[in-house]
């Protein structure tokens, strides 16, 4: 039987160390909504999402109450809209109309975000894909809860450089289009290589075409729990360090698995995966950078950071895979800058640069995430940064992503406030040497030699 020490340990994790279930995300396939009539399509999308997810928020809150664990977000991911809207949308405005439908139904069911305003163009773009991508600035500046993602490369297909170049423009245009609204649209826009089909985290969540009709995916988090556990083994060797991270990750993931199973049963929707990511928030003590400091670095970004992050990421996965029957594709540590107070401090102290972050993305679960850059950065430069990050993902057979936020009218040294979970960020300097002749070549980068496994 459970004893009082174990009960206190769990409750301390929740109350003092910010252990939470970051999100319950319901994936909903919209393939059966496809219609060549735009109005009918929007009506079908609305009804399917509403009927599937109307109990999601209430169920999440009920589970949270009964187990005494916060479930921070309830979200929806849908089939990439470029596929769903392909038959009906003849212009960018048509896609924006779908975006508004999604936004409306997301408000009605009370979720925090809805992801899947997406296109999968790792090898080429259909007309619909291109229309959707070009509609992103408008869609993100005219809606509140929509998240958008574009997959522009994979280890199997190579990198679609036309799409990379286009995304450089779209990120800049999204920043300009949302200049006068509260949230910068770029905080809800991510470019992927090797995007997973079952990601519960925003902004990159979409419901892949390989998935079932509906599915429950859960993301757990708890950087504070790992940090506290590590503070008890200061000065010990790497074996002890790794063992501690692994055991902690196991415990955290078990909670996610329990919540996922409960949510799945109560909603009558099959369980997909648990994603055991250490996802930071701006709250004090909820930081991945603080874990790196606890491992032994003065600041994130100091020499040794990549090695420390590599072992952290690996041990989190090793602990997690035993704790859950189905583990998601993004599991590991997230390193968003604006959402992590420790990362912000490191940037402000001059310890952490864009180039070091790029190196860190080689060994952690995602990529260049929530990085504020000067508003006068050229679209070609943004495309160049995306290309670099996509190449890391393609060659290393891992997911990589780019979520850059050009801040119009701001320069290096300024700071920008995104609000809520998105945090605030210092504007980081970007290498100003030109790469336009490279990204303007057009076409695609072929798949790497190790993709030929047949």
């Amino acid at each position: 039987m459970i004893n009082i020490t174990e009960v206190s340990e769990t409750n301390d994790m929740i109350e003092k160390e910010n252990l939470d279930v970051r999100t319950i995300t319901m994936g909903i396939s919209l393939l059966d909504c496809i219609d060549s009539d735009l109005d009918k399509l929007c009506e079908k999308i609305h009804d399917k999402i509403y009927n599937s997810a109307k109990d999601l928020v209430a169920t999440g809150e009920q589970i949270s109450k009964e187990y005494g664990i916060p479930i921070v977000n309830k979200r929806i991911s849908v089939t990439p809209i470029a596929i769903v809207g392909g038959a009906a949308c003849k212009a960018q405005e048509d896609f924006v109309k779908i975006a508004k439908t999604l936004d409306k139904v997301a408000h009605e069911v009370g979720v925090n975000f809805i992801g899947g305003y997406s296109a999968l163009v790792s090898k080429g773009m259909t007309k619909a894909d291109e229309l959707l991508i070009r509609s992103i600035p408008q869609a993100l500046s005219q809606t509140e809860l929509i998240c958008s993602s574009v997959n522009v490369g994979s280890t199997k297909t190579g990198i679609n450089m036309d799409a990379v170049r286009l995304m450089g423009d779209m990120i800049l245009e999204t920043a300009k289009a949302s200049e006068h609204i509260e949230v910068n649209g770029c905080a809800k826009l991510v470019v992927f290589c090797n995007a997973p089909d079952d990601n519960p985290f925003m902004a990159g969540a979409f419901h892949g075409v390989t998935e079932a009709d509906r599915i429950i995916n859960v993301g757990v988090s708890g950087p504070g729990v790992v940090k506290t556990a590590l503070s008890k083994v200061r000065g010990e060797n790497f074996e002890v360090l790794c063992e501690t991270i692994k055991k902690t990750a196991f415990k955290v993931t078990r909670v996610g698995q329990l919540v996922a199973k409960e949510a799945s049963e109560r909603l009558g929707v099959p369980f997909g995966i648990v994603d055991l990511s250490l996802a930071p928030t701006p709250a004090i003590g909820d930081s991945v950078a603080d874990i790196l400091c606890e491992i032994g670095l003065e600041h994130a970004g100091a020499p040794g950071t990549t090695a420390a992050l590599a072992l952290l990421n690996d041990q989190v996965k090793k602990g997690g895979v035993m704790a859950s029957s189905y583990v998601g594709g993004l599991s590991g540590a997230f390193i968003p800058v604006s959402e992590d107070q420790g990362m912000i401090d490191a940037v402000e102290a001059g310890a952490l640069t864009l180039e070091k972050l790029e190196a860190m993305t080689c060994v952690c679960s995602v990529g260049l995430d929530m990085i504020a850059i000067p508003g006068d950065t050229k679209a070609t430069t943004i495309a160049g940064i995306i290309a670099d990050e996509m190449a890391i993902g393609m060659i290393n057979q891992k997911t990589t992503a780019v979520r850059l936020i050009p801040c119009i009218g701001k320069k290096v040294g300024d700071s920008v406030e995104f609000g809520g979970l998105l945090g605030h960020a210092p504007i980081m300097p970007v290498n100003s040497f030109d790469c336009s002749a490279f990204v303007n070549r057009g076409g695609r980068i072929p798949a790497p030699v190790h993709s030929f496994k047949n």
Partner: protein
Amino acid sequence: MKRAIITVVGKDTVGIIARVCTYLASEKVNILDISQTIVSGYFNMMMIVDVTGRDADFGRLEEELAKVGEEMGVVIKMQREDIFDSMHRI
């Protein structure tokens, strides 16, 4: 059997266990086990109770217990046992 764990944490005072037990008795909730420690003047109690067939009013019990705690200046939580089992038992 479905079980829940009730924890009471706070400054020690007269009658904490009595109040909690009286409430549980009035709600016909059976207590299976009680353990308690006092660490530097702080009261720390754990109860295991039977909540079989109480799915519908679990939320109400949880809220009312929290209120009983507030009145005595202690924090009372009721959580389903599974969360602790999941985390600490393979």
